[in-house]
Point group: C2
Chain length 400, copies 2
């Protein structure tokens, strides 16, 4: 079935140099033809080919679907009471993760599946057409494997995070837990995972443990991502760079050496956007919002020509939002990003953080993942905070 | 037609003392019977009477619809570019109001009506069942009157804000503009308005002008509200108290004398909630978010036992959000409110700011304005920022 989205007022292509707005590659008064789940043609609305179905965008802005490259959707229970206590002054230490681990282990497959599907659908309604999903609330061989199996039912971007925290039963012998993660847990998880991730932070895993775990995952063909420098300065970012990580995530507390390390992964090229860093800095402002912490300094990273992505960190403890527009608005208000930079980071940036070139972009051959806004411009995603502005979503070319 | 909302997990009644949660009066496992647009009965789910229609809340939280007591919906044009420039560092001075005045005057009735109805519907979808609408972008006799006529088509809570700014054509003779506002403009506007409001701020109207205008409105039977202390300290709050205003709005820059003046309007009573201030402090955190300004200190007001409301300030210049949940999340993150205080302020607080006792509350005889969340608790409105959590809205007892 073919489909044409017609009467587009502003099309954000993220093909740098193909229109206005620099990296956003904005084209006006165009149509997009979709065939077999892919973008088949983009051109002036007046030249739009015939198609089996037509969607009239009525002059609205159309963007690539959001790419949320960091989310923890496989869990049970909710931590609303912990949230309320934190807002009354208790600090966030990450300790509540163990609460969710207990609830997740106790849940049936059906309960976990229902939560994953509910949040996946909720994200899709809000325009997120790709969402990475991590394990990390099971922390046993069986529970990590089933978490990833359930995640893989709805997303190809699954990440093994057995090294989220050391579970209580291993508190006295973390080396043994690392051996478990690198051995039987990884073996059971890897068939369902594309990525491996470690929470490299004081109170979770130090650089040596993190390096060992990530290297084991790499040996099995998994790509590397790192939870790094969220709660304080630390070795996570530099470790990610050392291992060629696709992304280091959070980046709230960076030294100049961390920024330099990220910038050093830059590959310049003759392409229109001038190149990118091979390790992306993925910023998760929902976590700072919901833990009342200082925000990461996106401007500093952008000025150092580090490639930046935005993601939700959706999880029941520190950031229970699934809204990419909310993250865009925060990035503009709090992190020194322009609306255009934030929109790019939430689409093309997320795609780079997942090393994908078929999403986060609208050009012939790309996946037909796109959103039609209730607004004439991408600027409205930051200009109208909190308002559900995504009118319609096409996922793999199918209207949802 | 009668309707029963059944299987409610948590009902926020805002009837203090009728359940848990202090002022929220939370009841669990109850049903609500609706007849002729009003709440007819609330009781244990097991005792729910028969009704023509049944809505299964499936264990979710049900709250009174949001009462947005401060919004500017009658305008033309958009100021997304001004927003983007401000985010790049330009300060907010209120000067852009004149841009919107020009566009509004040039617009047809049909264009203004379409915008009002679009935003009204957008707010209703997000759970706002009462929304106050101000004029203030016409600033001629004809344009203010038609703004209010159009606003009154969708809301009973209309406010004459001819004294928003002095329009350019009167810049050299503000006294003449005040005479126009108090004379023919007020006469033309009053039949369509319940309230009168003045932007009492440096660069807009000083205390003497504001007092004169508000007194003229009072003489015609309009209730008083004041835009006060948004951009800096000033006389607005104390003027509002002096005139018995229902609400002073913004309250971003308050002296101790301002807080004392508000607290002095408190009436203590034998009622379960212990009483309230007759002048409500309405806080509008969307404006601080979108102008990157410091937030008002809600905690200080609450600790002084001043009644606080939350509203959106929805307008194209300084706060183009229509989302009350977004304002709740900001109030908790940034203004020292607990989730319960913020939810109360966005419902019952807004009702008090409009001097209404039939809305913002769920008890027999109240208007059947209620919302069913995609969540088990009111806490989720702050805990899940940015996520559209309002699953269903009943407005005057009618499902929307």
């Amino acid at each position: 079935m073919s489909l044409v989205v017609d009467n587009i007022g502003e099309l954000v292509t993220n093909v740098a140099g193909s229109g206005e707005g620099g990296p956003l590659g904005i084209r006006r008064r165009v149509a997009v033809l979709v065939e077999e789940g892919e973008v088949a043609w983009i051109g002036p609305a007046a030249d739009a080919p015939a198609a089996d179905r037509r969607i009239d965008a009525a002059g609205a802005a159309v963007l690539p679907g959001f790419v949320d490259s960091h989310a923890h959707l496989v869990f049970a229970g909710d931590r609303a009471a912990e949230f309320a206590a934190r807002m009354a002054g208790e600090p966030y230490t990450g300790g509540g993760i163990r609460t969710t681990v207990g609830a997740t282990r106790a849940a049936s497959d059906g309960e976990l599946r229902a939560t994953v599907r509910r949040l996946h659908a909720e994200a899709l309604r809000q325009g997120t057409t790709t969402i990475e999903i991590k394990s990390g609330y099971g922390l046993t061989v069986t529970d990590e494997a089933r978490s990833l199996r359930i995640a893989a039912e709805v997303s190809a971007e699954t990440t093994f995070l057995g090294a989220h925290v050391v579970p209580a039963e291993y508190a006295a012998r973390p080396d043994d837990y690392v051996s478990l993660v690198c051995g039987p847990m990884l073996a059971a998880a890897a068939p369902h995972a594309r990525w491996i991730d470690v929470f490299c932070e004081r109170g979770a895993f130090d650089a040596d443990h993190a390096r060992a775990i990530l290297a084991c995952g790499q040996a099995l063909g998994l790509g590397v991502r790192v939870h790094a420098n969220q709660l304080g300065p630390g070795p996570g970012v530099r470790l990610g760079v050392e291992l060629g990580a696709a992304s280091v995530d959070h980046c709230t507390h960076l030294t100049d050496a961390d920024v330099d390390a990220l910038a050093s992964t830059r590959f310049d090229c003759m392409c229109a956007d001038g190149g990118h860093t091979s390790t992306v800095a993925t910023l998760l402002p929902g976590a700072e919002f919901s833990t009342r912490s200082p925000y990461p300094d996106a401007r500093r990273l952008l000025d150092a020509r580090v490639t930046v992505a935005l993601a939700t960190d959706c999880n029941p403890g520190s950031s229970y939002t699934s809204s990419m527009p909310f993250c865009i608005a925060l990035a503009v208000r709090e992190m020194g990003m322009t609306p255009a930079e934030a929109v790019w980071a939430a689409t093309a940036g997320g795609a780079r953080a997942l090393r994908r070139d078929d999403i986060g972009v609208l050009r012939p051959g790309a996946r037909a993942d796109l959103i039609i806004l209730d607004a004439p411009s991408h600027l409205h995603l930051a200009y109208r905070p909190g308002v559900p502005l995504v009118r319609q979503v096409l996922h793999n070319g199918v209207p949802r």
